[in-house]
């Protein structure tokens, strides 16, 4: 029995047909298949482009898609590779689920501050970035084993600072005053 290896593609709540189209191109499907992936689950968002499931059959890759689900954790948990839009919500949900991630930046967006985050995280080796045009190249050349696990964040530090400011926790200064 062949092992099922799933690629999860997500565009969040945005409209990003260029990504879905790029993923569903024959060249891309072939590349994914060559890398050992056997199925593709695509979350389409507000896009109008609906992938053709038979295109996958030809390349021996199963294609499943849906527009939106509030909780994508189930798919992220099962995914062996995630291809995502550059929204911070999707990026961090994937990184926290410790899944290999390729972020595709929407080059059509004006004032695209989203690439700022993706680039910074790519520089730190937490993920790969690509444009829809360069997706296949990135998939071919990426080395997932060189990615670094994303360190967990600590929101308590901010809350502690806030507590100190408001007098709910002793501040550093008042602690030293008591000495």
């Amino acid at each position: 029995m062949k092992q099922n290896r799933m690629v999860f593609v997500t565009v969040g709540s945005t409209l990003f047909d260029a990504l879905v189209e790029a993923v569903c191109k024959r060249e891309c499907l072939l590349t994914l298949r060559k890398l050992g992936y056997t199925s593709l689950v695509i979350q389409l968002g507000k896009g109008k482009f609906v992938p053709d499931k038979s295109a996958g059959e030809a390349e021996d890759i199963e294609i499943e898609h849906f527009p939106y689900k509030p909780n994508l954790a189930e798919y992220l948990g099962k995914a062996d590779l995630v291809i995502s839009h550059a929204g911070s919500g999707s990026i961090f949900e994937t990184l926290r689920a410790q899944r290999p991630l390729v972020v595709v930046v929407n080059t059509l967006l004006m004032d695209n501050h989203q690439s700022e985050l993706a680039d910074e995280l790519a520089e730190r080796k937490y993920l790969y970035t690509a444009s829809p045009e360069k997706l296949v190249d990135t998939l071919r050349t990426m080395k997932l084993e060189t990615l670094v696990p994303y360190p967990s964040s600590e929101p308590s530090a901010l809350v502690k600072t806030l507590d100190q400011f408001l007098g709910f926790a002793p501040s550093i200064r008042s602690v030293s005053d008591h000495r």
């Binding site: 969040g12 709540s13 509030p70 929204g87 911070s88 919500g89 961090f92 949900e93 926290r96 501050h113 989203q114 700022e116 985050l117 680039d119 910074e120 964040s153 600590e154 929101p155 308590s156 530090a157 901010l158 809350v159 502690k160 600072t161 806030l162 507590d163 100190q164 400011f165 408001l166 007098g167 709910f168 501040s171």
Partner: protein
């Protein structure tokens, strides 16, 4: 004739006094902004009415990570505001409240607010929508009268924070204002963040990347939220 002139002079003096008073008050508020409020010891107030502005998508996810860690005995009661067009944020906040506060979650209140600018909306039409959002935000802020506003963008929180600042200037309520720049901002502040920074509106201004803190010295970096 002479009486009229005297009347005009009198009114001019009143207006001048008001203007000077307002200016003095503005300067005072600006000078006090960012100075620590020792609520627990100073005023004896043990709980703060907390207004949390949910900015949708990644913004909401980030701010709810803060809410998760807040001590609910201090930050109580809590009110949540989200944009009218945002269908998910309030539900996410309600879910968190039910999980964390249990029975006490019923004391929370939830509001929807008009957004000043939708993604992709032109800057010209956004003047009108901003005015509408402003009016709505003022009405909400004056009726809630929070002790503290916690927000993290995008534009949704701008009118709420301006209203909060006006509450301070008018002496209605000293609203502690806290802004956390989104983790998506690595090299420069968002437009909302820049405005808050330049206008000195925030008592606490957090960023999530050390190099951004270095560029804007009046901000704080204490780690990431995500």
């Amino acid at each position: 004739m002479e009486e009229d002139e005297q009347g005009v002079r009198w009114w001019a003096m009143v207006l001048w006094a008001l203007a000077v008073g307002l200016l003095a008050r503005l300067v005072t508020v600006w000078m006090l902004t960012g100075s620590p409020l020792v609520h627990a010891e100073g005023t004896g107030q043990r709980n703060l009415k907390t207004l949390i502005v949910l900015g949708s998508g990644g913004h909401t996810a980030e701010i709810l990570h803060i809410v998760e860690k807040l001590n609910f005995e201090h930050y109580f009661p809590r009110c949540y505001i989200a944009a009218v067009t945002d269908n998910h944020s309030l539900a996410k906040a309600k879910k968190l409240e039910e999980e964390k506060a249990g029975e006490n979650a019923k004391h929370c209140s939830y509001y929807r607010i008009y957004r000043s600018r939708e993604v992709g909306q032109s800057y010209i039409t956004s003047i009108g929508t901003t005015l509408l959002a402003m009016g709505h935000a003022f009405w909400l802020a004056f009726s809630i009268r929070p002790d503290i506003i916690i927000c993290n963008g995008p534009g949704t929180c701008l009118p709420v924070c301006v209203a909060g600042f006006v509450l301070k200037v008018l002496g209605v309520k000293w609203v502690v204002m806290v802004y956390v720049e989104s983790i998506a901002r690595v090299n420069k502040l968002s437009l909302t963040g820049q405005l808050f920074y330049k206008l000195h509106l925030m008592d606490q201004f957090f960023v999530q990347w050390p190099k951004l803190q270095q560029k804007f010295p009046r901000t704080q970096y204490v780690g990431r939220l995500m």
